[in-house]
Symmetry: none
Subunit: 206 residues, 4 copies
C-alpha cells in the first residue's frame, strides 16, 4: 500500500476525544508493553497486541497509523514515566545528589520493567526511530542542567558529556538486566563510580 509520508506514519491518527477512546488507546499501549515483555519482539505483532488489549484490530488502527507508531507511543509512554521520576532530581540541593538521583531513576526503571526497557532500547536503534532516539532527549536535558550547576566540575561540552553519561548508564544498566542482576544497591554504586569518574576525567582544567 502506498504509504503516507514518513513523519505522518508516526503521528497518532486520531486524537481521542471521548473518554472511551482514551481508555482504548491506553489499553492498547499497555497491551503492547505486555506483549513485548511476555513474548519479545518475536511475538510483537499488531493482532496480538489488539487481542491482549481486548480490542479489535480495527480499533488499533483507528488510533495508530501503523505498527511503528504504536511502538513509538509505547516508547514515549515509558520515557514519560521515566522522566516523571527523573525530573524530581531538580529538587536536590547539591549537584551530586541530583546526579545520584538520576542514576537511581535509571536503575529503578530497569528493575521494574527490565525486559521492556531493554527491548525498547534495542528497537530505538532502528532507522524508523533514529531521529527520535538520537536527538537529545529530556533525560539528557536534565543531565545537562545538573552538569551546569556551579557545584559540579565544569564541562567544556555539557551536551556531549550528557550524551556520554546517558549512553554509559544505559549500557551498564541494560547489561546488568541481561545478566539478570537484581542487586540495585551494588549496581547503583558501580554506576556512581562510572559517572563521577567520567565527569572528573573530562572536567575542564583550571
Amino acid at each position: 500500500m502506498p504509504r503516507a509520508s514518513q513523519s505522518s506514519l508516526l503521528k497518532p491518527r486520531k486524537t481521542p476525544s471521548q473518554s472511551r477512546a482514551e481508555q482504548t488507546v491506553a489499553a492498547i499501549i499497555e497491551a503492547a508493553a505486555q506483549v513485548l515483555e511476555t513474548d519479545g519482539f518475536e511475538g510483537f505483532n499488531t493482532n496480538a497486541v489488539a487481542q491482549r488489549a481486548g480490542v479489535s484490530i480495527g480499533s488499533l488502527y483507528q488510533y495508530f497509523p501503523g505498527k511503528d507508531a504504536l511502538t513509538l507511543a509505547l516508547m514515549r509512554r515509558e520515557a514519560d514515566r521515566f522522566f516523571a521520576d527523573a525530573v524530581a532530581a531538580s529538587d536536590e540541593t547539591t549537584a551530586e545528589a541530583a546526579m545520584e538521583y538520576l542514576i537511581g531513576a535509571a536503575v529503578r526503571q530497569q528493575l521494574q520493567r527490565s525486559t521492556l526497557a531493554r527491548l525498547l532500547d534495542a528497537e530505538g536503534s532502528r532507522p524508523a526511530f533514529r531521529r527520535e532516539a538520537s536527538s537529545p532527549n529530556r533525560f539528557q536535558l536534565l543531565l545537562v542542567q545538573v552538569l551546569e550547576r556551579s557545584d559540579m566540575p565544569s564541562q567544556n561540552h555539557p551536551d556531549v558529556a550528557a550524551g556520554d553519561v546517558s549512553a554509559m548508564i544505559r549500557g551498564m544498566v541494560d547489561a546488568a538486566g541481561n545478566r539478570g542482576e537484581s542487586d540495585a544497591a551494588d549496581l547503583t554504586r558501580r554506576l556512581r563510580a562510572a559517572v563521577f569518574g567520567y565527569l572528573a576525567g573530562t572536567a575542564s582544567r583550571g
Copy 2:
C-alpha cells in the same frame, strides 16, 4: 580444476587453501555483513544474502541450519576480528597502556564498520543470542587479565568490572556511532575518562 590448483600453488603451505566449502561459507557470511550494512535489518533475509553471495538459497541452507545460525556466524566472525586486534593489548608493558589499547580497538572497530557493529549489538539482545552475548566473552576475558595486572588498582570483582567496562564502552561507542561522530581521538579521550574513572572508583580500598 586448474584454477584451484594454480592458486594453491601460490600460497604458503602453512595456510593451505580453504576448501571449497570453507570459501562458500565465508562468502555467505561476508554477504550477510554486506546486506546488513547496506539494507539494515529490513533487508536482511536469507534469499538476499544468498543472492549477494552468488550462491543458491539451497546452498545457504546446506551450510547454515537456519537464519539465526547465519547471524550467529557473522557475530562470531566480527568478534574474532575484534579479538584478533584486541589481543595485542597483552603485549603492552603497562596495564594502563594495555587498557588504552583495548579502548582503541573498540573505537577502531566502530569506525570501520559502524553500521554493522551497531546492528549486531542490537541483534545480540534477542533471546536467541542472549546466551552467546551475556556470557563473558573473549573481550571481557582480556579485560579481566588486564584488570588483574599488578600495576592496576585492584578490583574486588574483576569479572564484574570487566562486564561493566565492556558495557560502558559499547554503550558510548554505539551512541557515538548513532550520532554520526567521526572524531576518533575525542571519543577515545572520553572513553579513557570513563573507564579509568570507573576503575578508580571501584578499586578495592587499601
Copy 3:
C-alpha cells in the same frame, strides 16, 4: 509497506528459465482469467487466483511483484491473442476487407470470452494501467496501417481516426456483450456501418 517504483511494480519479478516455471506462470495467468470471468472483480484476489492455479500464494508473488502486475500480464496475454488474430488483416488485398477483418476479430474476441474482455476493458481505465491503455496499442497501429492504404479514403489524422475507431468498436462491442447479444453477424453489420460511416465522414476532402 514500502513499495518499489511505479514502473517496477508492473514488471515481472523473475523471468522463468525453467520449463516448470513457465508452466506456473501460464497457469497463474489462466487462473486469473478464470477467476475474473467466474467471480468478477469482487472475487479477483491473489489468494483465489493462486488457489485456482493450483499453486501457492508464494509462487504467485515469485513471478508477479503485485496484483496489478498480474492483471497487466493477463491484459497483455489477451491483447497478444487478439493481435495474433487481428494481424492477419494485413493479408487482405483490399483495405475494406482488411478493415472488416479487424472488426470481425473484435467481435470474435468478445463472443469468446466476453466477460473477461469487458472486465479488462473496465480495469484498463484505472490510473495504474492508464499509461499502458492510453498509448496507441498494437491494434491501433494495425488500424493506422489499414487507414493509410491507398484504396482507403485518406484521413488527415490517421492516428486520431484509429483511436476513434478503436474506441467506437470497443464501446459498441462491450455494450452488446453487456446486453447479452449473441448474433455476431448482426453486430458485425452495425459495426461496419459505424466504422465506414465514420471514415467517410472524416475523410479529407479532395
Copy 4:
C-alpha cells in the same frame, strides 16, 4: 430554528426549502462526487465520503443502506443532470439538429466533470449496477424519439440503433477524456461523423 425559517422566507413558495434530510442526502452525494474526482476509486470509501460531507458515518448509513446505494445515487444524479441538458434536444426543429444537440450534451458533460463521468462509466459495468446500466436509459429513450422523427433516415430497430449510438458516443468520449483531449469542437465533429455515418449505414432501405 431561526436560520432555517429565515432562509425559507427568502425562497419562493414554489420551491420550498429542502428538508434537512434532503440537504444531508444531497451533501453526501456531492461529497461522493468530489472524493471520486479527487482521489479516484482508490480513495472512494464511505468514511471519506462522510467526512467530506461533514457528516458522521452513522448518518451516511441512515440515508444509504450501503456503499452501492450511494454510488447508484450519484450515478442517478449525474444521469439526471445529463438528461436535464439533453432533453432540450426535443425543442430542435430538425432531427439532425436534435441529434447534434445530444452529441453536444455528451461532450459537454465529459468536459465538465470528465474524471467523474469516466469513473462512473467504469463502475457502471459492475454486476451490482448492470441492470441499471444495461436497461435502456432515458438518454437512449431520447435517442429513440429523435431517430423516429420523420426527417431522419428510418431505422428498422430504433432501440438497437439508440443503444449503438449511445455506446459509440460513450466509447469515443471516454477515450478522448482518457487521452486528455480538450478540443470540444473537434471531438464533436468526429462524433457527428460517427453517428450520422452509422445511421446512414443502418437506415432501412427504400
